[in-house]
Symmetry: C2
Subunit: 379 residues, 2 copies
């Protein structure tokens, strides 16, 4: 069974290799989406993103709405044209940022009132407004307004929040259908850390015509083990026909474990944020380029990597740039970490297609032994 915009080509256990079609191209899944919060993946140009082969990036609705404003972006021809981004763009619902960045938020059945983290100005997001914003941005994949419940929320709060999220999801879908048919609207599965609420959320959302389903509300403060427990459990309830997107996660290990559970799409600030902190992912594991041991190393950062950084510079020079606070360090490191993430999912896909995903998973887990130990009981 396949949808017009998505089909699974091959699977290996629960892991799937698929193709997701948008107005801006075909995306081979599983895929990692670099985060371009305000219409720029930090320190990288659109040409860089094309060079490293990123077929889709994520933009943040909350940020773009506040600055420069979705109406301005619409006037400039949409986010693709405004930021000169040729690839597909998924935008989030703004819900997570409203709850994590803004102050004085007030939730009603109609939506959420919040104050801008930039200038304190008051704003109100409703399900339809959030769709309008994303249509103004010209996103390929839209997300409906949801409440991402904080870690530690009790059962009653979470259950009540879930009813609101579902009410908003239905309004979003209805409004989206009236306004637009060519792009894709996903549903978001919330339900905190309560198995029955997660199951209930999926049963509710599966009955509607969302183009894909996302798992929200993970990686919000819980332990690594609990995250993977709920990732695994939630993923197991998801319909197999639709693309599955794990929001805001995670490390390379999280990705390969997510893929093992049938996740098709990921986004996270980790590779770019870590790059700016000097933490770099390599085929030999994670390193911190600041370390004195790299001062005299004429070796490339990762001899197995094809990125400009690894093909051009030594660890010694990269360390020098980083400790000297040179701007170029941030760019070269970001370019490398994203290349690593994109290769990780590309190699995962190849392993799924050849039916060798379990051994690929085992290989990656060996690269991150400490982190793997934290989830060992889940595998």
């Amino acid at each position: 069974m396949s949808l017009a915009h998505f089909h699974v080509e091959a699977s290996c256990g629960e892991a799937r290799a698929g193709e997701l079609r948008t107005a801006h191209g075909v995306i081979k899944t599983p895929i990692f989406m670099p985060v371009g919060t305000v219409g720029s993946v930090k320190a990288l140009s659109p040409a860089d993103l094309v060079e490293i082969g990123a077929p889709i990036i994520l933009g943040n609705t909350y940020h773009l709405y506040l600055r420069p404003g979705d109406e301005l972006i619409a006037k400039m021809g949409g986010l693709h044209k405004f930021a000169s981004l040729p690839m597909s763009i998924l935008t989030d619902s703004g819900g997570f940022q409203v709850f994590s960045l803004s102050s004085l938020r007030k939730i009603t059945n109609d939506g959420v009132e919040f104050r801008s983290h930039i200038d304190g100005s008051k704003h109100f997001f409703t399900p339809t407004k959030v769709i309008d914003i994303q249509l103004n941005l010209g996103s390929d994949i839209l997300m409906p307004l949801d409440e991402c419940v904080p870690y530690g929320a009790d059962y009653n709060y979470t259950a009540k929040s879930l009813r609101l999220t579902h009410m908003w999801a239905k309004s979003s879908l209805e409004y989206f259908r009236e306004r637009e048919a060519k792009t894709l609207l996903f549903g978001i599965v919330q339900g905190g850390f309560f198995a029955d609420l997660r199951r209930q959320a999926i049963e509710e959302l599966a009955g509607h015509d969302f183009a894909g389903l996302a798992i929200g509300g993970l990686s919000v403060g819980e332990s690594k083990a609990q995250m993977h427990e709920f990732l695994s459990l939630t993923a197991s309830y998801l319909p197999k026909t639709k693309p599955r997107y794990l929001m805001g996660v995670g490390t390379p290990l999280d990705l390969v474990l997510g893929i093992a559970n049938g996740i098709d799409m990921f986004d996270c600030v980790l590779p770019t944020r870590n790059a700016r902190n000097g933490t770099l992912y390599t085929s030999m594991g994670k390193i911190n380029i600041k370390r004195q041991e790299y001062a005299k190393s004429s070796e490339p950062l990762d001899p197995e990597c094809s990125c400009y950084t690894c093909q051009t510079f030594s660890r010694s020079y990269l360390r020098h740039l980083f400790v000297s606070h040179e701007l170029l360090a941030l760019r070269l490191n970001s370019l490398h970490n994203l290349t690593y993430y994109l290769k990780l999912v590309r190699d995962a896909r190849a392993a799924i297609v050849t039916g060798t995903y379990q051994s690929y998973l085992a290989k990656i887990m060996q690269l991150y032994p400490e982190e793997a130990a934290q989830v060992d009981n889940q595998i």
Copy 2:
């Protein structure tokens, strides 16, 4: 009359179009050298520098000596290899930085003691040590240790300093000849704001076999008018056969006026520093990209510019990146300003060759009317 490494192809008034040959290529002069203080032109990659056509950049001896250290760079194969820079590299003498950045400096006949601005550690630069450092870096053009006298220094101090600078210049040249013949050592003309000392400096240096002569000690706090008065006066004494380098100057107007006075080479942090402050040079003059008026402009930054920034993005997007403090803004702006500077000197050269430099100069002066007014009495 021409030298093995330099010849003047054409001139127009005092302005000259020449060719300067180093171990890393032929540089068409007049030329502007982007500043790559610690082995990186801030926010740009070597590939960017190649793309914008920079045939030579400047590295700072003082900075590279302190971090990562010239001996480390020598072990890594020299600065060209360490930083993956294919173009020619000129390194300064460190003198200017010792006097402007470090603390507790103490000058003796042997050299200058100073404390690192990074960690306060104590160091001693001698004329021969500064040559050794630059040979370790593998520079194409070396500069001898000099004292850049502060603005306001009196005649006696300046005259005494000049004797020391000349003593060091001779030691530098002797030591350089013993150690190396393939690269080029320039002499530095000091003498503050005293015409007879400037003249005396040139008479002294012209008697020695320096590969070129640099004018130091300008743009140190004097008025724009005084700077151009001494630039013009000093340049008029310089031998015509050697390349002439105006150190640490300046604005586009300073460059075209310098060229009118026969200067062949320039370096300055201005285009890259201004880029990071949002001040951009265009074929219509200087603009600040922060301004509200650009928020809705779908025009390119400069329609006459061929750089990636102008060919790809609108003023609106560039303003958005800048006000959002995005790292990409610093890179796109730097790429543009350096492209502007390189085009400025390339166009100047073309005008010299076609004998139309006076009208080119007039055209550029019209772009910067306020600044031009400050030097009007000099022209």
